[in-house]
């Protein structure tokens, strides 16, 4: 657009020598003073905080990189609640190595650019001991290099394969949520053995979807199954019917992993397209995290199957640790907030926050970590951990941890939608999801 600069003088007399106080000038001066105050306090703040840190209470500071805004908001809200609940409980039982835990939260806008800034701010301004809590894989990819440069341990709860792939650095860990590759590997035998051999994959046309496309294809080869079609759908898509027309007629199972705001439309249109005569459906609960499974329009999913990392409904996995965790975070037996039944949790992911804080606690206490100069010992201690036992600290279940890949492996669940509820029908073993490591971070220098 072409613009013309305004050159005309305003018709006001600007040469008035009298000092007049106008409403605008008062507001302007107020804004300047307030701005200067905020700026000054922020610049001086680090000095004050450093002085405080040298005091006797000396908490362990953990910087929580939260998705408070942007596309990760629903997950971010529950990650934050879980983190605060875990920190509250850890402090109640004596903190970490006798020191209280302080969670410092900053919004990354679910944006890799801002994510890297947040890591920087946590490390250099808030002077946290560790940074933690990132979910979305592109934010992890954007933030992890900065964590490596700053040499600050960075614990993610992302389930992406990026940590184990070796793309990141020795300072990045994913200790308490199984990655997508392992999840797919774990459930594929059950899918091809119970639902059918010919599978069509419908996936979002970005990295998360590609992991499913690639690793489900590899798993199909091993399990005697066959991927008969791979149908990518752009994230921005609003209408899906034309994609359903591409599904081959010999398809036994539709494997779908759609995420984002179009999911409900996706399911509704799939129902309209197939009616009652449809292939078996298998999906990843990522599609419906934060969504009530009995919502209007989701009736078509009745009888279909979903992967869950941790069963949303309490009766699906009723252990002591799981009960304690559910209660501490404030989730009811149906997976929604105790204070608002419409506020459905992201139950298959958020346990990772709880467990990661306990994993940090374990590593700090084992390594004798006191301050940043002990990062080397802490990382080597973490890499030496092989197993996390099930219990209050790890309510999702036991985990094998690989020091080479900085990635854990845990059990997975398959649930069936029945009468608007998810009922667990199968639990995998940890061994079902294990794959050979493709990297060894321990060989990188600290």
């Amino acid at each position: 657009m072409e613009i013309a600069m305004e050159n005309k003088e305003e018709g006001k007399d600007t040469n008035n020598s009298e000092i007049s106080i106008t409403r605008r000038s008062v507001l302007g001066a107020g804004a300047v003073i307030a701005g200067a105050g905020v700026l000054g306090s922020k610049l001086i703040d680090p000095i004050a905080k450093t002085a405080h840190a040298a005091g006797s209470d000396n908490p362990i500071k953990i910087g929580f990189q939260a998705h408070r805004t942007g596309i990760g908001t629903v997950y971010g809200k529950w990650y934050e609640r879980t983190t605060n609940a875990a920190a509250k409980y850890i402090n109640k039982i004596g903190g970490i190595a006798g020191r209280p835990v302080e969670i410092i939260t900053e919004d990354d806008g679910t944006d890799p650019k801002r994510g890297a800034d947040v890591v920087e701010k946590m490390a250099t301004q808030h002077k946290v001991d560790f940074v933690y809590g990132t979910l979305f894989s592109h934010v992890v990819m954007g933030s992890a290099p900065r964590a490596g440069e700053l040499k600050i341990p960075y614990f993610v709860v992302s389930e992406g394969y990026h940590v184990a792939s070796g793309k990141l650095n020795r300072y990045v860990f994913q200790p308490c949520i199984t990655d997508v590759r392992s999840q797919i590997t774990a459930v594929s035998n059950w899918i091809f053995g119970n639902l059918g051999k010919n599978v069509t994959i419908i996936y979002p046309d970005y990295a998360f979807g590609y992991d499913h496309r690639d690793y489900a294809s590899a798993a199909a080869e091993k399990s005697g199954g066959k991927i008969v079609a791979k149908i990518p759908i752009p994230m921005t898509e609003k209408s899906f019917t034309r994609y359903f027309a591409k599904i081959p007629k010999n398809t036994d199972v539709i494997y779908h992993v759609m995420v984002g705001p179009g999911v409900l439309t996706f399911v509704r249109e799939m129902g309209e397209f197939f009616g009652s005569n449809h292939p078996q459906l298998f999906g990843f609960i990522d599609s419906l995290e934060g969504v009530n499974i009995s919502s209007p329009g989701l009736g078509f999913l009745d009888g279909s199957y979903f992967w869950e990392a941790m069963p949303r409904y309490a009766d699906g996995y009723d252990t002591g640790g799981a009960r304690f965790y559910r209660n501490a975070v404030g989730v009811n037996a149906s997976g929604a907030s105790k204070s608002d039944a419409k506020d459905v949790s992201t139950y298959s992911h958020m346990f990772g926050c709880w467990e990661t804080l306990f994993a940090i606690k374990e590593a700090v206490e084992k390594s004798g970590y006191r301050s940043k100069k002990d990062y080397g010992d802490l990382i080597e201690t973490f890499e030496g951990i092989n197993f996390f036992n099930e219990g209050i600290a790890h309510p999702q279940g036991p985990k094998i941890f690989s020091g080479k890949t900085h990635q854990c492996f845990g059990q997975q669940f398959i649930s069936k939608v029945q009468n608007g509820k998810l009922n667990v029908v199968h639990k995998t073993t940890i061994a079902d999801g294990i794959y050979e490591p493709e990297t060894d971070y321990t060989k990188q220098s600290l």
Binding site: E2, I3, A4, N7, R68, E106, G142, P145, Y206
Partner: protein, 320 residues
Amino acid sequence: MRKKSLFYSLMLHGGILIILFLLQFILPAYHHSSVSKIMILASYAIGYNFLLGYTGLMSLGHAMFFSAGMYSMGLGIYYLDLSPMNGLIFSFLFSILVSMIFGSFALRTSGVSFLIVTLMFGQTFYLSILYFSEFTFGHDGFSLGKYLEPLFIFGKEYLFSDPGIRYNFALLLLLIYVLITTFIMLSPLGRILIAIRENESRTQLLGYNVFYYKFFALVVSGTFSGVAGAMHGLLFSYIGTTFAEIHHSISPLLWTLLGGVGTLMGPLLGTGIMYYLIDFISEITKNYLLIVGLVLILMIIWFPMGIMGTVRKKWFKWLP
């Protein structure tokens, strides 16, 4: 009069750049890094302002240039084993090429049509990065750090992530952009660009080939933006689609409008204010975007020509 303007301009901008140079010795670590980033982003905004502020062409597709420079540098290093400096040169040439191709199509339109065409080009480029994800690493992007050779200065080895290197490279880029822009704007060529902005028909009537001048402005603007993108990738080690998204095209527009359209230091000021506004307010409240929006509205009401534009209008008419 022009000599006087040049003198004042050199004093002001030289003073600002000297202050920026000296700041690196006193800033705390976080603000040191933030100012480095602000200078890179301000360089991008200066490129944007070259087209909007001095030539009067508003674009909603500048993220294409920024990301074209960033990706060409990053992928060049990753796939072609280019050295960082050769990567920068490669991105410079690629940015010129992209700008020329884009300009030869987009400048056939004007007004709102030009705006829409820039938007469409920007989105096409963004979606292309996603479409060729096996080559570009798609939505997740990739980290460049481990593929970067270290830098040798006077026989001493430095990493691009070194805070001093980062700060001074960003400052150097800003300095180069300020010098080039000042030089062009105080030359007859700059006067013609401003004439096009003020009245394109009259400029054409005077015998100037308006298309070529606009094409020149667009190529300079696109190349500035591209090299700023490459520098961002080099210094901050991450290449991703977030830099190609629409909001990264809107950002330099906001920074420029806030700081002052058609002023040399407006983009730097606007970028700095916006960066710290978001940074500070997001600590205080979750609803920081609402407050940032309100602050922007108030700023536009108080400074309709941007901060530096208002300063120029009211006090310093010589500001370039």
